[in-house]
Symmetry: C2
Subunit: 208 residues, 2 copies
Amino acid sequence: MEVKGWSRVLCSILFFVAGFLPSEQGRPLSVSKPDPEDASATARWLVSQNSWGVLNTISSDLGGAPFGNVVSFSDGLPNEGRGVPYFYLTTLDPTAKNAMKDERASFTVSEYPIGTCGKIDPENPTCAKITLTGKLKLVDPECEEAEYAKSALFSKHVEMKDWPKGHKFQIYKLEIKNIFLIDWFGGPKPLTLEQYLHPKMNKFNFIG
Amino acid sequence: MEVKGWSRVLCSILFFVAGFLPSEQGRPLSVSKPDPEDASATARWLVSQNSWGVLNTISSDLGGAPFGNVVSFSDGLPNEGRGVPYFYLTTLDPTAKNAMKDERASFTVSEYPIGTCGKIDPENPTCAKITLTGKLKLVDPECEEAEYAKSALFSKHVEMKDWPKGHKFQIYKLEIKNIFLIDWFGGPKPLTLEQYLHPKMNKFNFIG
């Protein structure tokens, strides 16, 4: 119990230090599509407004092939996302099983399902798309982050709380290392993890 | 010219022998959602009704990470798809560039954007999803298959024909090796490439 208590305190500290500060400390998230010149706002909007995407892992069953899988996700309570995608996965499915052998992963979402691309083709660069690359990690269920992630997921995906207990769904997150954002012509927008996680600082950096 | 002529004949023969027979020889594709028990019909419907998905490659720039990218695609003229996804890609984008170094790829589409999942969550197994795994190959522009693929792509994505010539878009296809289909509870549906490409034979095999 003592060890469990300390572990809980430690992971809670890490959760906050890692930049998961309350969204009030950042710029409020935009509900309408931001100006494409504002890369961090566009990236955060894309992630917070989407409810599903494709999570890619290295397939151990398919000789190391990249394996994309449709998953639901959440980066926070509605319109209060913090940018880090959380998932509710079971190792009965290849994605979580793959991540146990090789954590390398990416998560891809498109603006198209949000409905704001109009008649623009989904591949057209002005119909925004983002790929977050990093490591797919199991979130320690003892950690405060797990509680946060569960609220984030269940508030956007109400049926999740009733998914079969026997399937042993667990919370995973993408520990982001790299961001690939296309939201206009001219190739990917330069965007660091720091700028993505803290769009307020970003405003000062870019425009201030 | 002589060599080019022979090459054209050879690739045309391969195009037909590989199973790309006219769709009249297969069961007509369903426009409405097939019975989930009919795996091949569901898989073909998912692919033919979708216009975009996530194409996954091994990233040479990101240390071998699996890299998903939002792309448009087509497997044939509207409601006449043959199951093989074609793409219009440029090596200015990482996906085609990655495939030049490592052909291993997968392509993932969801039923969710088709609009037939209703209030079901995108991750719920009854909201179907498919991942085709194989090799991402450049289609020889001299081959008859390139003409077919171009019609397939441009009929569903009208703006493609006007995309900048300078970006050197080329036609790629996924040479499918493995099919992962989830369309109901109980895990992925067993579905061979042969059953996927020739759903009529499949009907005899499964139901007849």
